[in-house]
Structure formats: structure tokens, C-alpha cells
Symmetry: none
Subunit: 510 residues, 2 copies
């Protein structure tokens, strides 16, 4: 009898979560449409709609009923047995419920509305390089974000920022990240100095030949289809800032962007979002897991490991371009017919400090992340005010990357994240690179002929490894458990450094 009763509770909990999953799908559509097809005149109303759907979701996710069902499940020892799917599901639902119930509904709605409004202001401010018009809105978002962090509460021995970090990378702390980022930064700076002093920069001019964006789109679709993205269950559209959104079962939306004279940027963004898209398509959303943590991504760091792996480990490799260069030549109607494989691979592995994070190369990218991590940590700690942001940005940028920032549009206003109150999010990008590199070493051990496979456009075994070791598990294991299970080791900076050196040095003839 107790077994049947708890089983009913679990089924009820799963059904309750499914309603939230469906609300999440609707919210994802509302947000995707805002970035893709919504006419400008719809912005104000859209902010209201976003706020409303966020409120309805929050009500569902914080309902007393949800809490009761979780507690009833927790009381069932059989259900909660260590190592079971059901136990992991209830554990993660408890985590979400506790996080969600700590935020008052008014704060959630205020944040949603401020985010939507600030995003519109940011668009105009960045276009006009007008930080002053952006600052008050950003300040409002930051105040609300600090309020949110306070509601979550500072973890024992931690800082306010950790409370935000925990939303995206459960269990991570600023201190731990600093401990990995600091040596990584130092060794990266050393690598850059070495290359600058002793390397021969690869030619890149051919990467900026004019290629109609329609042809770039066609190339991106061919590559991502070869990777295994299922276009009967997803799309690729165009936005200012590329993203990927897993709407729910059978519907994953990627976006990318095109510049007529920069096809590597477009294909890089497309492969990146495809990595996210493959993860979303690989999560077990069919059946009754949808809406529960079992069909959800572990953490942003793990999500990013998937995008970075396809973008960088695959997308900048000689093996990939052995297959992809002929495809590109055919698609681009002769524009790059004279480019040989060697030049292409070297061109894809430059290491040159530049201003825009999303345009930066694989190695210096991490320095951009470290800059943002330091600044947002200071903003949340109250050690830095929004008005001082441009000055501090420019000063630290010079220290880390050695360049003078020419404008706020190319400086502290380049990313949408802070407009959205996404604080604690940036470090997950470099965590993603670290996880990706560590997975990549294991994958190459377990699939010894991976290079030959990729060189003939066969990515099936690679995707299968990701499905088996990462995607299918949802949130059953934590990020660090998943890393240990997949690679046999805990996270370390070494694989990423080995990987970057193995790619960058040959590109510079070293």
C-alpha cells in the first residue's frame, strides 16, 4: 500500500512539473519571437507578456501543492534510494523549489519586466554608443539582481555572488573559479606572449572574402545536419546575438548571424549553437520526463562544454576541415577555391587579442570571460558602481588583452547578458571550455579513429558518445559527477591548455 501511494505522489509530481515544462516552452517561444520576428512596435506589449508568463510559471513552481508533493516523495525511502532516477529527480526538484520559493512573486515580475525593457534600451544604446542612456536601466537590473541574490542567501563561507552563480552552475563558488581562472589566465598570457614573440601569424585575409549570407546559411545548415542536428525537430534563424533555445519535445531553435565578409564568424556561431542544440535534442524529453530535472541540462558549464566542443575541438580541427573545406568551396560558388587545407586550418586557429568576446579566438576568449567575471563580481559585492563600469572595463581590458577599448559599444556594452540580469553566467563559458577539453581527451582515447571519421564527415560516433555520457542523463548527476563518470578525473585546467597549445602553436609555425 505505501508503495502504491508514493508512486501516485511521484506521478502527480511529474504531471505538476510537466505543466511547468509546457509553460517554459511557451515562455521560450515568447522570448525567441522577440529576437527573431517580432516587429519593433510590439516591444512594450511583449514586456508585459513576458512578465505575465514568468509570473504564472513562478506561481506553478512555488505552489504549496508542488512543495507538498516533493515532501511526500521525499518521505518514501524506496523512491529516494541513492543512485535511482526517481531519487535524483526529487532531489533536483527540491533544489529548484527551494530556489524558486526564496524569491517573492513581485521581485520575479519586476525582474522580468526590467529585463525586457532594459534589453530594448541596450539595443539602442549600443547602436548609438551611448552608455549614459543605458546606465540607469542597467543599474535597476543590477539592484534587482542583488536583491535576488540576497533572497537566495549567501552560502556558508561564500559571498553574495555565489548565490547567483549557483543558479547556473550548481555548487560552484567564486573562490573556486578564481583558483582555476588565475593560473589559466597566467599561462594563457604566457602563451600569447610566446606566440607574439616567436610565431608567424597565419594569413587570414581570405577569411574575409565576400560571401552572400544566403550561401553562408546553406553551409551552416549542411555542417549542422552532418553533425546530427535534426531539422525536422528544430530551426536555424538569424538574430543579432546568436542563441539556442530548447522549446521542448521535438522543437529546438538555434539562431546565428551573418556578416558578408566574415564567414568563419557565422560558421563558428552556428556550430556553437548547434552544440547546444544537439544537447537539447539529446535530453530525454519524450515520455513523462519532460518538465522534470531528468530532461533538463545539468548546468550552463556542461551546456557550454557541448557548444564549445563542436565549435572548437571539432570546428577548428584539421580533420573537420578535411571534410568541410570541399563542402564550403562548393557552397560558396568558387570564392575560396584557391584556399588549401593548411591555410584554412591555420587561419581558423589564430590567437590575436581583440575587442569583441563573441568574435574572439578560442584562446583569448577565456581572457574576455575572466574580465567579465571580475567586474560582475565587483558589481554584486558593491565594490564597483554601474557609472564607473566603462572606465574599469577599459582599464582591465588593457591589462588583460593589451588593447585600448575604442568605444563602449565595443567595450562594456557589447553583451546582452547584464541587461538580462544574467550575472554569474559568464564564468560558465570558460568552465565549458575546461569541460570540453577534458571530455575531448577522453573521447579521443575511446574513439581512436575519430580524426579519420571526421575527415569523411562522419560525426555519428562522436554524437553517440555525447548522447551516452552527457545528454541522456539530464540532471541525474551533478556537473562534477558527470565529469568524473565520463573522464575518470575531476576538472582540471591542463587539458584545455594542452589543447590550445596543440592548435595555436602549429598555426604560428611553432
Amino acid at each position: 500500500m505505501p508503495a502504491a501511494a508514493t508512486s501516485t505522489h511521484y506521478q502527480e509530481l511529474v504531471a505538476h512539473a510537466r505543466r511547468s515544462g509546457n509553460l517554459g516552452s511557451i515562455a521560450a517561444l515568447v522570448s525567441w519571437d522577440q529576437e527573431t520576428y517580432m516587429p519593433a512596435g510590439g516591444a512594450a506589449a511583449r514586456a508585459e507578456q513576458s512578465s505575465l508568463i514568468a509570473r504564472i510559471m513562478h506561481e506553478a513552481n512555488t505552489s504549496a501543492k508542488r512543495g507538498e508533493l516533493i515532501a511526500q516523495c521525499e518521505a518514501d525511502a524506496e523512491l529516494m534510494k541513492a543512485g535511482t532516477e526517481t531519487g535524483a529527480c526529487v532531489r533536483e526538484m527540491r533544489r529548484d523549489y527551494d530556489l524558486a520559493t526564496k524569491l517573492p512573486g513581485d521581485l520575479v515580475a519586476a525582474l522580468a519586466q526590467a529585463q525586457s525593457e532594459t534589453q530594448e534600451i541596450w539595443k539602442h544604446a549600443r547602436a548609438n554608443n551611448d552608455f549614459k542612456s543605458f546606465a540607469p536601466a542597467l543599474d535597476k537590473v543590477m539592484k534587482l539582481t542583488r536583491e535576488k541574490a540576497s533572497c537566495y542567501g549567501v552560502p556558508a563561507g561564500g559571498e553574495l555572488y555565489d548565490a547567483l552563480l549557483n543558479e547556473y552552475e550548481p555548487g560552484a563558488t567564486a573562490a573556486e573559479i578564481e583558483a582555476v581562472f588565475t593560473p589559466l589566465g597566467q599561462r594563457l598570457s604566457a602563451l600569447i606572449a610566446d606566440i607574439t614573440a616567436n610565431g608567424t601569424p597565419p594569413k587570414v585575409d581570405f577569411l574575409h572574402r565576400e560571401i552572400p549570407t544566403g550561401l553562408q546559411h546553406a553551409f551552416g545548415q549542411k555542417v549542422t545536419a552532418a553533425f546530427g542536428f535534426d531539422y525536422t525537430k528544430g530551426r536555424l534563424d538569424t538574430t543579432t546575438h546568436p542563441f539556442c533555445s530548447g522549446f521542448g519535445p521535438g522543437d529546438t531553435r538555434m539562431t546565428t548571424r551573418y556578416a558578408i565578409d566574415n564567414f568563419p564568424d557565422a560558421i563558428g556561431s552556428t556550430m556553437h549553437e548547434c552544440g547546444h542544440g544537439l544537447y537539447e535534442q539529446g535530453l530525454p524529453k519524450d515520455g513523462d520526463k519532460f518538465g522534470t530535472p531528468l530532461a533538463d541540462a545539468v548546468s550552463l558549464g556542461i551546456h557550454e562544454s557541448q557548444s564549445r566542443m563542436w565549435e572548437n575541438m571539432v570546428g577548428r580541427s584539421r580533420a573537420f576541415w578535411t571534410w568541410a573545406l570541399p563542402v564550403a568551396k562548393e557552397t560558396f560558388n568558387g570564392v575560396i577555391d584557391d584556399v588549401d587545407l593548411d591555410a584554412m586550418v591555420r587561419g581558423m586557429n589564430t590567437c590575436t587579442p581583440s575587442f569583441i568576446r563573441v568574435e574572439s579566438d578560442e584562446a583569448t576568449y577565456n581572457l574576455h570571460v575572466m574580465l567579465r567575471f571580475g567586474i560582475e563580481r565587483a558589481l554584486i559585492a558593491g565594490d564597483l558602481s554601474v557609472n564607473d563600469l566603462p572606465g574599469v572595463w577599459n582599464e582591465r581590458f588593457k591589462q588583460l588583452l593589451g588593447l585600448d577599448v575604442p568605444s563602449d559599444a565595443k567595450g562594456c556594452m557589447q553583451d546582452v547578458h547584464w541587461s538580462f540580469g544574467l550575472v554569474g553566467y559568464f564564468p560558465t563559458y570558460t568552465l565549458g571550455n575546461l569541460y570540453a577539453a577534458q571530455f575531448w581527451e577522453t573521447i579521443n582515447e575511446q574513439i581512436p579513429d575519430l580524426d579519420e571519421r571526421m575527415a569523411r564527415g562522419d560525426f555519428a560516433a562522436l554524437l553517440e558518445w555525447c548522447r551516452t555520457n552527457i545528454h541522456q542523463h539530464g540532471r541525474r548527476y551533478s556537473a562534477s559527477e558527470l565529469c568524473e563518470r565520463a573522464t575518470g578525473k575531476s576538472l582540471s585546467a591542463d587539458p584545455l591548455l594542452r589543447h590550445l597549445e596543440s592548435r595555436v602553436k602549429p598555426a604560428y609555425g611553432m
Copy 2:
């Protein structure tokens, strides 16, 4: 003190309605995306999302709180004073609330299930021309629809059918519609007979030259922008079945369809949906009216009057093509350069009886509607049984349109409406034509140089007339009041007949 208190109730009611308005915007997006960009794999999840958002809307619209607020407002004589906006708003909210709450949950569920089942059966039955397999399911839907009508209640002095009609065309009665439709049908049949006997059919072959759909789209955008559709507050996309959806403030989405060898069909659909779109953009959705009946369309008939006016009265006129033909020639890269104005206008005004309503011309379309009106009225009254439907359809079709129906698939099973329990909906199509023609006569009296304006692509005065006389009022006045206010007369068949004769006869050289 009482004034302040009721004012608070009114404000609360308006805020409560605004939430429904925002939910409606979200539901409209969910539905639009399904028709435009959703990948096929998302269909099952989308059905769950649609059902969820519909349920949330229904809960809001039938909530006890909504009922209380309406009752509190109704108790305030000042607020309800005749001729006031507030009084009209509360009156219409009462109407909506009563309609939404009069149906027992069991009946709603039974109808939903029967509709869904019958629609599937209809698809197969139509494909196999097998009315017998469709009849029992249709009979069930009709019984439930009659039950629904009984729950709504027969209006004093009216019939059961009026209760259904009232959902789509508030206040209209079958007897009134019959009084207009009967002479219209007789005189239309006479017109067709006259043309058939004495007219020379216009040439139409040039209307089927191949024109790339991208160029047709560009032409549609030029025409609708000239009409006054604000593309900063709307879009035009492509779907199998064209529609227009007013998402809410600043966001109206139109769709159309393209066949490479039928540009008049595309531009006709585009102008039709643009008429709906201009109405949606003209409704006073800014400020606090959004979500209330004051920012809502009066009736389906009035909505259709707007689409039909731009599609037919404007879009088939010599004045319009005087401006539009050179635009089309330029856009279509020479494909119709040899077509002269006379041929174009004649080709756009054919009148040929055919079997399928949605493919029929401007004049005969109304006969298709009348046929359905008579039959569905008899079905609801119990004067016609579902089993006798094909025989009666074919007999009346012969009387009205002079053709022998070759199959039930091209006869009484061609439309999806009845499978859905949409009874009382068809007559609004012809009501739209009648209203459009009556408005059109008044417009031409009040803007005597309208033809010259249209001939130079100037539609501003025409749109302004619609804004002033129709759009801005929302549901403040009933459809018949709006007609009287705008034209000084109650609805009559004469303007539509005069209009059709003035267009069709010259096209046939009479």
C-alpha cells in the same frame, strides 16, 4: 465616495481584463508560430501548450472575481449611463462572461472531444468521398451544438439558431439575415443568368503567368504599405491558409500564400488579410483599453467587411489598378508588361459558378454562403437530418448556381466548419460583403475624389474614414448601430448588388 469606489471597481475590472488580453496575445503567438515557423516535430508538444494556455485563459475569463467586478460595476448608475464608454465596456464584458460561464464543463469537454474526433473523420471521409462514414460523427456534433445553443438560450421571438449566431455576430437573427439574403440570392442568380446568356467572358490566361513568389511577396508588401499597414507594428509571412492575428498593441501578424502561376490569388489574399490587419491596427489597443471590449472587434461580419472592402471594393477596382498595374509590372520584371489596364480590371472581375467556396469569385461567393446558411439553420431547427444533407445540398446548389455537384467531397463535405461545430459562422462572410458595400457607397459620397486618390496610390483618406467610423469604436456600438452611424441606414442588399453589377457587367462587355 460611491463614485471613487466604483471607479476602483472599474479600474480593477479593466486590469483583470488586461491580463486576459495578454494571455490572448501569448495564445495568438503560440498559434501563429505553429502555422509559420514551428518544425513538424514540435506538433505534439504544441498541442499541449495550446491546450494549457486556453485553460489558463478560460479560468481567468470565468473566474468568480471577474463576475464580482462586473456586478459591482453594473450597480453603479453613473458608470453604466447610456452612451458612455464605461457602460458599453461593462455591458460587453457581461455578455462575454455570461457566454463563457453558461456552458456546463461536461458539455464543453464533450464538444471538444467530438470536434477533435469529427475533424479527423471528416479528413478521411472527404479524401474518400464517403459521406456515410462522416454522417454519424457530424450528427453527434450537431446534437451537442444544439445543446450548446439551448444553454445559451433562445432570444425572445427568435429561434435556436440565433443563439449560435450570437457568438459570432452579436444581436443578429436568422430572420433578419434571411430577409436580406433572399432578395440578394434571387438577384444574384438573375445577374449570373444574364451574364451567361449575354456576356463575353474576360481573358484570364495572363493572370496565370509564372511569377517568382519572392516578387509576388514584394508586390504584396508595396500594396499593403500603400494601404497604410504599419510594418513597424506588424509582419507578413507565408502559410498554407492565410490569416491575420492581432497579437495586441503594436503587433499584428498577417499571412498569405503564393502559387507561382496565380498572382491574383496571392495579392487578393494579401489585400484581404491586410483589411483585417488595418482593423486590428486601428483598434484602440494603446492605453488601458487593451484587453477590454473597447479594443476588440465588433463582430465577425464587421471584421470581414474590412477585409472584403480592401480585397474587393479597392483591390478589383479600375482606380486601384491604375496605380497598381505599373507597380506590378515593375516588380514582376517584365512578365506582365504587355497587359493593359482594361484587361487587368476585366480579368479581376470574373463571375463564374464553381463548386468550391474558397476558390469562387466575388459575386458567386455569396451564393455558396447562402446555401450553407439555409442548410445549417434547418439542421439546428431539426427540419433537416444529417443523412439528408447531401441530397438537399446538391438540389439547392443546382437551384442557386446552376451546376450538378459531382461528389460530396466537392459538395457538402468541402468545408471543415461543421466538423468543428462552427454553426452560425458562415453567414458572417456575406454579412461582411454587405457591410463593405454599404460602407463603400457612403465612403464614395463622403470622399468624392476617392477614385482619383486611389489611382495615384493615395489610400490615406479611405483608411482615415475606416479609422473614424469603424476601427476606433471597438465594441462600443453593435454592428447594426455602427452601420447606422456610419451610413445613416440599416443594412440592405442593394449596395452589394449595385456594386457587383457595376463591376461584373463591364468585365463581360455589357
